[in-house]
């Protein structure tokens, strides 16, 4: 039982990170129907920028953290501005291929600058995050993942529900033509969703890096894991992304703990196939509202 709960907690905290990165992915998909294949690279980029700012530039942790997040946001914004905007109105497949190219380019750039070795981030998390309740121990990184996950979820929930910009973003996702007719700045919404997605990706990159060390290949592979997560949760549901992330995280933890660590990476896809047979639109995917 102890082992079970320990695995559950570990799974959930990793799951929050998967959910967070999936959330950014879903945001881009919802507003512009683009599948971003460069998501894993954005994750890795966040972690490396943080590493450099902290270890090389010697910024204090909090500043390095803020600067990384701002940098990621700006980068997402710029990616949209320079690479995607010229393709607005072109067939979607061009745009998706462009993100594949972007992934290759970013990965090359990361390897060029930081090399392919595994780096470790200095452990900076405060001691109070190390939770020891009887036999249950939550290491600080896992605690941080859970806290950050919950924090961002609440923030984004509020943003999309109440803020004007959040409602505009949802309106573009819902009916782009109508949004345009009311003067919603659709291109700005695209840029904003890329910015937010990159920010969240960078954030999860940092924490995943704390957990397992930073390497270009490992972190960009997490980008691939985003696919089962979002498809499980439903491609256009932000809540679904998070819950999908939690499920995949827990599944991985259990497979790793009870079956064999080498099966970890396979089980999410098996779960995905089974679920898609039962609910083709994912757990929380929009069931198309149809007027009859």
């Amino acid at each position: 039982m102890d082992f079970f709960i320990q695995l559950l907690v570990n799974g959930l905290s990793v799951g929050f990170l998967y959910g967070l990165s999936a959330m950014g992915f879903v945001m881009i998909f919802k507003s512009s129907s683009v599948l971003n294949f460069a998501h894993g690279e954005l994750l890795a980029l966040g972690a490396f920028v943080f590493l450099s700012l902290h270890a090389v530039v010697q910024l204090p942790i909090a500043w390095a953290f803020l600067a990384t997040l701002t940098g990621c946001f700006v980068l997402g914004f710029l990616i949209e501005r320079f690479f995607l905007r010229p393709l607005i109105g072109e067939p979607l497949i061009y745009v998706i291929m462009l993100t594949v190219g972007l992934a290759a380019m970013l990965r090359g750039l990361l390897l060029l600058i930081w090399g392919g070795n595994l780096r470790t981030l200095p452990d900076f998390l405060p001691a109070w995050m190390d939770i020891q309740a009887g036999w249950l121990r939550i290491p600080p990184v896992y605690m941080a993942a859970i806290l950050v996950g919950i924090l961002f979820l609440v923030l984004f929930g509020l943003f999309f529900k109440y803020s004007a910009q959040g409602i505009f973003m949802r309106s573009v996702a819902d009916n782009q033509r109508a949004a345009l007719s009311l003067g919603v700045h659709v291109r700005r919404v695209f840029a904003l969703s890329w910015g937010i997605a990159a920010l969240v990706a960078g954030m999860s990159g940092i924490i995943l890096g704390l957990m397992n060390g930073i390497s270009v290949h490992d972190l960009s592979a997490v980008g691939l894991k985003v696919f089962p997560v979002v498809i499980l949760g439903g491609l256009n549901s932000i809540t679904g992304a998070v819950i999908g992330g939690l499920i995949i995280g827990v599944l991985e933890a259990f497979t790793g703990g009870y079956l064999s660590p080498s099966l970890r990476d396979v089980v999410p896809y098996i779960a995905l196939v089974v679920l898609l047979l039962v609910r083709p639109y994912g757990l929380f995917g929009l069931v198309e509202i149809e007027r009859v």
Binding site: I167, S171, D174, S181
Partner: protein, 265 residues
């Protein structure tokens, strides 16, 4: 005519560089009046509205010739973001709500042109014109009825404080009673908010009832214009758009019936 808020001079519109839809359309919209644009399907009414609102661009259409002047400023081929901020809002044909947003969130999207400004008063105004929306304000738009949705999209446009409202077929697919109610509200908005309105309609009878002035379009051209009264009495309009007309009811029962030839052909 009185001072024109919008003046369209001889515009041509081409889609995808090859399909010419408008072939020299000119019309004038006087300030604070309702102008209706009548005509059968494919006449180019919607395209005319889109040329004004800038929504041709996303559909790969372009104004190739002529000029659109709004308060003296040229509008042709500007982006919808710019045009909506000048106070021109188009209500699209077929309602187009944001299905997964609640009624109130839908209305808030209408404030996009003046983002960051308070909007409580405008919400109240919209609920004042359309009390049904108040009752349904927490409901997802996807689950509302056709009449409610038509009111919703008109209210959504009102949130933007339009000076010129372009209404595309507000009566589409609605029950006659609902149509009447909606047209009563359109007339009230025009009278009370001083909003200038261009009304595109298939239902010529009810459109001419509330409009001050009308244009008839056919095949991408304006074929007739006049005040609503003159149009209502015109024998051609009567026969082709109002039903009945010269032959009167029962015209088809007579052994030899033939249709009037359109005078402008």
């Amino acid at each position: 005519m009185e001072d024109a808020l919008l003046e369209i001079n001889n515009i041509s519109v081409v889609y995808a560089d090859v399909i010419q839809v408008l072939k020299g359309v000119s019309l004038q919209v006087p300030n604070r009046r309702i102008v209706s644009l009548l005509g059968s399907n494919g006449a180019g009414k919607t395209t005319t509205l889109k040329a004004v609102s800038g929504l041709l661009k996303p559909e790969n259409g372009r104004v190739t010739d002529g000029a659109i002047l709004y308060e003296g400023h040229p509008l042709e081929n500007r982006s919808p973001e710019q045009i909506t901020r000048l106070g021109i809002i188009q209500v699209l044909e077929g309602r187009q709500p944001f299905k997964y947003l609640t009624i109130e969130e839908n209305l808030r999207v209408g404030t996009a042109t003046r983002w960051g400004k308070p909007y409580r008063k405008d919400l109240e105004l919209v609920y004042h014109y359309f009390p049904v929306l108040w009752e349904r304000r927490k409901a997802l738009a996807g689950y509302c009825s056709g009449g409610e949705l038509q009111m919703l999209v008109m209210g959504r446009a009102l949130m933007a404080h339009p000076k010129l409202l372009l209404l595309d077929e507000p009566s589409l697919g609605l029950a006659p009673l609902v149509v009447e109610e909606i047209f009563r509200i359109i007339a009230r908005i025009n009278g009370e908010q001083q909003t200038t309105i261009i009304l595109v309609e298939q239902n010529a009878r009810i459109a001419l009832e509330i409009a001050h002035y009308g244009y008839v379009m056919e095949n991408g051209k304006i074929v007739m214009e006049g005040t609503s009264e003159t149009l209502k009495d015109n024998p051609d309009v009567k026969e082709f758009y109002l039903g009945g007309g010269a032959g009167g009811p029962g015209a088809y029962q007579q052994p030899k019936s033939y249709r009037r030839r359109k005078r402008w052909l």
